[in-house]
Amino acid sequence: MKIKKLTDQQIARMPEFRDRWLKIGLSTDPTDRPRAEAAIAAMYRAAGTAPPRKIVWCGSPLSQGLTRAVILDKRMWASVRASVGASVRASVGASVWASVGASVWASVGASVRASAGASVWASIWASVGDSVGDSVRASVWASVRASVGDSVGDSVGDSVQASVGDSAYGQHDAGWLAFYEFFRETCALNEQTEKLSGLTELAKSAGWALPHSGICWVSERHSLLVRNAGGRLHSLVGPAVRYPDGWKIYAVNGTRVPGEWIETPGFLTAKVALTHANIEQRRAGCEILGWAKVLTEINAVTVDADRDPEIGTLLRADLPDAPGSQFLKVHCPTGRDFCIPVPADCKRAREAWNWTWARDEAAKLPEVSA
């Protein structure tokens, strides 16, 4: 019979699952290797696949992707073939993520949907899955995922980036796993969620895993995680994330920034911040230094200030090797300030703002801004 309404007792247990899975998702405890290896075997069996003959432990999702790339990437393999031996590559089968991961999620999702009404699904997701997912997936997992690709050069970037899509995310799958564990433990949907038992156990014991036929690479959990009051990755004194192999991610209020900005005293100057290519990182750099300090350091003078803060203030400054540089300091509807380099011959803020959109001054301004 389909569950159409949760009981008061079931609703009362929602915070318990949220807190349990937040702890799992954000855990920096050492990995429980025996438990994780049993979980991996269960993941394969749930997909009707033989467990891997070899489990390779890696210090982070990055080294996991790199280790796989050494074997699978043709260019990297060419350079290590002589010392590693062809039999190693021959023993590595194709990725089995589609059966071990994607099809399991789809099958469990369909079974639980068939057993629970839409409003029950929505309320459990909102109170358990989404709140855990926002703290773990949107904040931590998203930064780890983006950093894996950014941490390697173009020559192996594609191979390593592909490892992200082929991975089970272990503890970072906490949002969905919390959601289904609630159904399992409080609504008795054991059969419907059984296939997730391996992925659930992996999440409780390790980081990401990269399942292939015959072999599974698996990563340690992060050993350091620093967040701000809003739950975003944030540290002004060191890495915000660190893995046991030394791989680090630096972030300020959720925006990833170059490590030198945090670790090397004096590296981040107003010029470095203002001329950085990525506008979000540029804003973060200015916030690390403080806008007042940035503008003082470059002796910025106001050329023109529009009455609309979203059009902004046109500033002029003599940077060390770029005299007469101009910037438009604009206020974003999200509440943050950004600096946009504009041509030196702009005389008014509105002219500079229109230049950024390649529009002339007669063009209509937006009637809505978000």
Partner: protein, 114 residues
């Protein structure tokens, strides 16, 4: 949710109502996340999730300019970020120009990247 009648801005993207999509543009397929009308290096794309094929997305020779044809009643542009999120914009039926913001560089200009 904000509804755009003529010109709306979401972060570094402008949506401008036009009479029709110009000739010579190339239709782009939707990705897993939908039509990515504003690409982000960090995955915080601006997207239109169109599951029923009522939105057509086009690229032009100018990387700053793209186009949309909204064949259904409306299309929602969503910013894929759970914090500091740009509010969703609703675009009505018809043709729209997508205009991406640029910034000055010593070499000329580049598209604003986030």
């Amino acid at each position: 949710m904000k509804t755009v009648k003529r010109v709306g801005r979401q972060g570094e993207i402008l949506f401008i109502k036009i009479n029709k999509v110009p000739a010579g543009v190339t239709e782009l397929p939707a990705s897993k996340e939908g039509h990515i009308v504003g690409h982000s290096e960090t995955g915080h794309h601006h997207v239109i999730d169109d599951k029923i094929g009522e939105v057509h997305h086009y690229a032009s020779a100018n990387p700053l300019l793209g186009y949309l044809s909204v064949d259904g009643a409306s299309a929602d542009v969503v910013h894929l970020r759970s914090f500091d999120t740009h509010e969703t914009l609703r675009l009505g039926r018809g043709a729209w120009e997508i205009r991406r913001q640029r910034e000055h560089t010593p070499e000329g200009w580049r598209q604003v990247a986030d």
